[in-house]
Symmetry: C2
DNA sequence: GACGCCTACTGAACCGGATAAGCTGAGCCA
DNA sequence: TGGCTCAGCTTATCCGGTTCAGTAGGCGTC
């Protein structure tokens, strides 16, 4: 099937290629009557602009890149990314931008992908996930001058735009809630320690525990997987001074933790309270349903996409704080058992 | 930062643009010595080909499209798609193809996306998920002559290439396994009824139950979400002749079902056996861990991607059966309670 | 040594748009 | 009536590759 080009439209309309281009782009240079006629003909013969030709002459790819740097095993199970992608995608497709996705093995491979995308002019900008402490990707992107928005922060994002949620406030609220219920021994199963948001949460946790005089507060690190989350929980619950409440850095580990607790004969929330970060439908699937820190992840992604398109459009980079995750109490939290 | 073009490489090497193009593409037309010199210079000055220019003149986009037609809510929670994408992606990036992703609301929007991609020459081919009965996308793609591989089948894929797993055999094996344990009243919570693979599984379920003389076999339909899966389970377990085993069409519904059963005071697997389709890490998270029908989903995606690249490369379309899902018995299945 | 043939290249056209620069005729004014 | 402006177009060039039609030079051959 032959694809119509701008020349076909021009011939049908009896005008030049240039006139068609002006008409399609809403630029001055053609009368309103001619513009309408050209647009009608374009629609009629099913014309759409070749993204390649457009990219070549307009020096814009019409696409945004997203590189995900987590093993497939973890990517698959965490609802976070898919929710984020669907939000990003909704915003992009509304503005006729495409999303180019790549799964990479490590940060160096990710930087290599950015270099390639830049060299091939394949994308107009990129979204960065999983901000790390001293993230090598930041200077690399600054050097390439590839428009980018970091989903994460605040801080450590160099001159790039960024979008973050106030994880410190959310964690503080959670600890205060648990303390109000009567808990004094609260543990936290954290995600990968070199991620910036893990660090932020860890600092906030330490700060609020110090402020509230919780001396037994302990953080253990994990990798977001159910296996590791379960293992960490088993370790915590086997200790002499076992916690009466555990906060997990994602939903998958929280569910694994719930399962381990029940396996060990503890009732939730009677013996142990559980709070999950990222309130996905998974949290409502299990019994008891999990108290969770939720936020609108698709909206978060859409927001980031909007910000990136603004940077691509030449607006100054912005650093924006998004909605703070809010605590939804459900059946997995209650006062601690008496005498503990 | 200025990006080097093929002309820059040519100038440095003291040859023409054409010679550089031949050298880069491994085509005859330059001596081996010159080719090496050109490649060295290209690497040295950090040259990579503009995907736009390449797409324009070579009439190939260097990208493959994937449109996902499920609400964000369900997309996010099902590990299947992310696992599939990571497999597809691994295969594509090994061959320097990009993956263009789009989330759409319904099949008509999906067809519109294909038309747009085709018109814009944005992709060289597409992967089709969630094959339906009398799928309108098939004739639309045939008409566009856009290379495509359907992930699903067998049957109903028109002249397009396809890749499927033998769901009928897997379901039959599962029912036989449950019957061998002693179950006679087996129910199935199915996915969306207009999906082709749901139909295939439903037919296979009816056939094996007839063959084994299970008169109480019942199938109820759901939408893959935890809410609906839980609701369906509650209905099933409240009936007078309640089943002793339930097979779920995905892992999320199985977990919801497990939760509902426990809530209703039934023990799993003592009172009720549960089997999940798609063995994700989620199945091992819950207690008891779920007996599940598993397969290597990233490999499935990689396989489909390879098939699509072959079609794009001009090879004849192929219809291939992939690995059959295999049953992994875990703690959620056991003989039925006595007297039932 | 004239001829053909092959290798290794060059030059130019082309892909399909965007856009700067040039052209034309209508309208207005002095 | 001549000159000016300006809307509304056309023409030509460019983006950065690929590819086809040459062509120069070396080599073998009768």
């Amino acid at each position: 099937m032959k694809r119509p080009t701008i020349a076909d439209v021009a011939r049908h309309a009896g005008v030049s290629k240039g006139a068609v281009s002006y008409a399609l782009n809403g630029q001055p240079g053609v009368s309103e009557a001619t513009r309408q006629r050209i647009l009608a003909i374009a629609t009629e013969i099913g014309f759409s602009r070749s993204s390649a030709a457009r990219a070549l002459s307009a020096a814009t790819a019409g696409a945004v890149g997203l590189a995900l740097c987590r093993p497939a095993r973890i990517l698959g199970i965490e609802p976070f990314f898919m929710a984020l992608i669907s939000g990003v995608e909704a915003e992009l497709s509304a503005r006729s931008y495409a999303l180019t996705l790549q799964v990479v093995a490590d940060p160096d491979a990710e930087i290599a992908v950015y270099r390639r995308w830049w060299g091939e002019r394949r994308v107009d900008g990129v979204l960065i996930c999983d901000l790390r402490t001293d993230d090598r990707r930041i200077p690399a992107l600054e050097q390439l001058q590839l428009p980018a928005v970091v989903i994460g922060g605040p801080g450590g994002t160099g001159a790039l735009g960024s979008l973050w949620s106030d994880d410190a406030a959310a964690l503080t609220e959670t600890v205060e809630y648990l303390v109000a219920l009567g808990h004094r021994r609260i543990a936290r199963v954290a995600g990968l320690p070199d991620l910036r948001h893990t660090e932020i949460r860890t600092d906030a946790f330490a700060a609020v525990c110090r402020r509230l005089g919780l001396v037994d507060a302990v953080t253990v690190w994990s990798d977001y997987s159910g296996e590791e989350g379960g293992r960490a929980t088993r370790r915590l619950l086997s200790s002499a001074q076992r916690p009466t409440a555990v906060i997990y850095d994602n939903d998958v580990m929280a569910i694994a933790g719930l399962s381990v607790a029940q396996e060990m004969g503890l009732t939730v929330p009677g013996d142990l309270s559980i709070v999950a970060w990222d309130d996905s439908p998974l949290c409502r699937l299990v019994h008891p349903p999990l108290t969770a820190l939720g936020r609108d992840i698709p909206a978060y992604g859409a927001h980031a996409a909007r910000q990136l398109l603004a940077v691509i459009g030449g607006e100054p980079v912005s650093r924006v704080q998004d909605e703070t995750p809010h605590l939804t109490p459900r059946g997995s939290t209650a006062p601690p058992p008496r005498g503990r």
